[in-house]
Amino acid sequence: MDRLLLLLPTTTYRTEAFIDAARALGVDLVCASEKPNVFEAEAPEHLVTLDFTDPEGAAASVANFHKARPIQAVVGVDDTTAVVAAAIAERLGLEANPVAAASAARNKLEMRRRLHAAHVPAPRFRTISLEGDIDRAARDAEFPCVLKPLTLSASRGVIRADDPAQFVAAVRRIRALLARPDVSVAADAARMLLAEEFVPGREVALEGLLMEGRLHTLALFDKPDPLDGPFFEETIYVTPSRLPADVQARIETVTAQACAALDLTQGPVHAELRVDERGPWVIEVAARSIGGLCSRTLRFGTGMTLEELILRHALRWPIASLQRERRPAGVMMIPIPRAGRLRAVHGQAQAEAVPGIDEVAVTAHLTQELVPLPEGWQYLGFIFARAESADAVERALRTAHAQLSFEIE
């Protein structure tokens, strides 16, 4: 039986989907987290602890494990563990992305450098030292611009500035965020920010799978809500895209160029692009699959989940079809309207009764301290819909969301 190592941070939403997929495939599953599981002593052959901040150290630990219990595939589920998975795969001699490629996809500065070196359309950028003269940096900046931490995910710490005063305020806010105890950044990511050109236009997300260096588009999502700042909270994703076919083709081409520029060759990619009258611009390419519970919108072939598809590819098992189901689908990440403690959720049954709605998953727990963007990184939950058209999916998601109310103190 093939043995699969899943790298599952204790705070990821992705655990259930990947564990279910591994069980459906019948593989011998080994789960690694950054903190010990309570059953690790009873099941050391299935539960291991790895330091995800030290990819080489994690690779050395897994190499020892591998001597007694050989591993055929390793899969990370988020930005951090994608780098660790690459390091482990390299150590074990498994086919995977080069470590440098996974690291470049994890670091927005290195990503920008590689994209520009390869002439892939991407926003102009510069670095801002957190220890330098911020007022001077603000005077030298071009506006509007977007300030970003180098390695945080989920739009955390991403702030638009339209003038020097907003620039200075944004840098101070991000600096305070990076100093929070729940934020782990090191090296350049602790010392500098990225200031990049704001690209107006529609935003899309491309979910893809790289197989031997070739990008296969699994789904292209429209993001119909404008993402113009000052913060960049994602809400609705709908697939298939309603953009013209030639624009979609150009998005796929540019994403493939970006993957090549980063030297990504294997496994899932989640790319975010802006589209204006000049064409697509790569905002990010992550060497992982879509975050949160959003993958529930996707089914392939005769019902395969995205996670099954990813695991099959990692194991080098046959994949019958990469074709997404024909029915349009979508998800709404329920935004946090304000800071405070969640006391009650109302209207969930009414939201689930909206035609086209598959599921309303409230993932924030009662009494949870809610922190909105840019400091926060979570959502209240997710709404899923399927309908006859992408427009109907979007309408269903908005109607369902309007049924929900949250008591926050």
Binding site: T10, T11, Y13, T15, R23, F39, H46, S153, H365
Partner: protein, 94 residues
Amino acid sequence: MSVEELRSKVQDLIDNMINPAVAGHGGYVELIDVQDNRVYLQMGGGCQGCGAADITLKSGIERLIKEEIPEIHEVLDTTDHASGANPYYTAGKA
């Protein structure tokens, strides 16, 4: 083995091996039922809504129960994780 015997053996495991382990994270597990060689559980305390609950259930609890009681084919979680008020780990987007 009768259903009553299976239920009793599962309850013993929960009392003597599973709950002492998850108690370290403020959690507990309750046996809801045993039917058709399937065990139905609910997780509470720190386990309810925990980001690592699926790992604990599938790679810890289920494996332990199946090793000790081979008649059990599957362990199913009936917990309403969204209602967990004090999960040990809280999930985030990525």
